[in-house]
């Protein structure tokens, strides 16, 4: 009809409206995607306050970090003269307490653990055997493997013996200093009261305590166990629990060491944290809580092809009571000292 206004669009108006429509659709699409991304997870795994540490319990402070080690870093040890030794990458690395590298020993495969004797001899644990080096890094011997299922994750050396924690067969092998196998400790044995280690993931460590007994972590039972050098079970302490005084998750503690006075320093994964326990197993203080290791806490297990893919921590203590924490995810070493005057409670 002639009375109706002309509603036809000009070409310019038509193109303009199309462009406006396209921009509007783009904005709506982007907003929609952002909305989807911002959706909270109704099935989120809630740790609540378990990942937070009561500041009153933290008894140590970080005084520095040493240069990162080759990846993956697995084990930390203190040798004579407070020299640090690490099993990292395909090598054993030694360094001063300031992080200056003094020695690097290349191995034929991934280094998994290391121990150093009082005379300076270095014992390097590879997956299935031990190699021995003198203090200058010259290979002295390569010991026969205990077996095809061996998966070494801990070493400790005494005056006459070397003890190797084997996650694969869930025992501690006892060798003499020439590499001859002289015993197996920790296998289920009623005569020795040994309950048998429960090792769901490859973390089994062994240390000789100043009281002359061996200590071995039993991660599946959430405790530290004591054995004579001959393999008799003497006792244990520790309990499961995500609370600060327990050992969290399926299998903790994964590593441990001792302060100069014999108290224990324990390391956990899942809720990565380092704590001090008395000889009787009472929690005394926290060296570093979960919030100190954000990268470590984020790691979920990938393919189960490495004993370093599961994250976690290791620790070593020098003669002055400083605690060195190795973060297996970042391969960094943190130097921790007791809070207060700068003095160490040794």
């Amino acid at each position: 009809m002639n009375g109706k206004p002309d509603q036809r669009l000009s070409r310019r108006e038509f193109v303009g409206k199309i462009a406006l429509g396209a921009i509007g659709a783009g904005v709506a699409s982007a907003a929609g995607k952002r909305l989807v991304a911002a959706e909270s997870n109704p099935f989120a795994y809630e740790l609540g306050n378990l990942a937070k540490t009561d500041p009153k319990l933290i008894g140590y402070e970080e005084t520095g970090r040493l240069p990162a080690l080759p990846m993956p870093a697995r084990h930390l040890e203190i040798g004579p003269n407070n020299t640090l030794f690490a099993a990292a990458g395909n090598s054993i690395v030694s360094m001063t307490r300031d992080g200056a590298r003094s020695l690097e020993i290349a191995l034929g495969g991934p280094a998994r653990c290391v121990a150093v004797a009082a005379d300076g001899s270095i014992f390097a644990g590879l997956r299935d055997h031990i190699e021995v080096f003198d203090g200058k890094g010259t290979r002295v011997a390569s010991w026969e493997s205990p077996g095809p299922k061996t998966w070494l994750t801990g070493l400790s050396v005494g005056e006459n013996d070397v003890f190797a924690a084997d996650s694969g067969t869930r025992v501690v092998h006892r060798f003499d200093r020439s590499g001859k196998a002289v015993g197996r400790i920790g296998a289920k044995n009623a005569e020795r009261n040994a309950p048998g280690f429960v090792v769901p993931s490859p973390y089994l460590a062994v240390r000789i305590h100043r009281d002359g007994l061996l200590r071995v972590n039993d991660p599946g039972r959430h405790r530290i166990e004591a054995y004579t050098l001959a393999g008799d079970f003497e006792g244990a302490w520790g309990k499961f629990g995500a609370g600060i005084d327990g050992f969290c998750g399926c299998c903790n503690p994964i590593n441990f060491t001792f302060l100069p006075d014999g108290r224990s320093v324990t390391c956990e994964k899942g809720l990565p944290r380092v704590k001090i326990y008395t000889a009787e197993g009472q929690l005394e203080s926290v060296v570093a809580g979960t919030e100190s290791f954000p990268e470590n806490a984020k790691v979920g297990a990938g393919e189960h092809d490495s004993d370093a893919s599961l994250a976690g921590l290791d620790a070593a203590v020098d003669s002055e009571g400083r605690v060195y924490i190795l973060d297996l995810v970042t391969a960094q070493i943190r130097v921790m000292r007791r809070k207060g005057t700068g003095e160490h409670k040794a």
């Binding site: 099935f43 795994y45 429960v198 769901p200 599946g220 969290c248 393919e303 189960h304």
Partner: protein
């Protein structure tokens, strides 16, 4: 004796040859595209366990009423833990099968005693909604033997998977239909 000197190509022949060549190339491209289409039709959706971030969207964004994504269990990787962090909540009152101790919102994991102190854990797929809560617990503390997979007895293989569109880890990938699962293994 005459040599084998080539005859010069005139303009008409050149154009004809060019047209023939174009037609042959076009046919080749068409055949290739059809072949590629066949390959695409021979692929299915799957979750790469190494990329999965346990965002929970598998449970909420599948077009099916109950998601085609289910938790599966790599028994060779499992530690058979007494305190399974895929089964129990982060700080359970006790290590029993009581509902308040369980992590799974639908009680889709069965816990069976094997021998002291080992337990076996099995997924009841009819109950599993693919929320990945157990996967997060197992990965955070344990060996990561629990993980999500698209189950192809349920998945309708949408052209554009509605979970893949929103997956926070971009973990959805196309895999050959004759090898439809990305399973975790162990070299230990």
């Amino acid at each position: 004796m005459k040599g084998t000197r080539e005859e010069p190509v005139n303009r008409r022949q050149f154009v004809r040859n060019a047209v023939r060549g174009t037609v042959v190339a076009g046919l080749g491209a068409l055949v290739g595209r059809l072949a590629a289409g066949n390959v695409a039709r021979g692929s299915v959706w799957q979750i790469d366990p190494a990329k999965c971030v346990r965002c929970g969207k598998c449970a909420t964004h599948c077009v099916l009423e109950q998601s085609a994504v289910k938790c599966v269990h790599a028994y060779a990787v499992c530690g058979y833990c007494q305190l399974c962090t895929g089964y129990f909540g982060p700080d359970p009152n006790d290590l029993t099968t009581a509902a308040e101790n369980q992590l799974c919102p639908t009680a889709a994991i069965r816990r069976t005693f094997v021998e002291d102190p080992y337990y076996e854990y099995a997924i009841d797929e009819k109950r599993c909604i693919g929320c990945a809560k157990c996967v997060e617990g197992c990965n955070r503390f344990g060996n990561g033997s629990l993980f999500l997979q698209v189950r192809h007895d349920r998945c309708v293989n949408c052209n554009e998977c509605s979970i893949a569109r929103v997956c926070d880890g971009n973990a959805f990938v196309r895999v050959p239909a004759d090898q439809p699962y990305l399973l975790k293994t162990t070299t230990a």
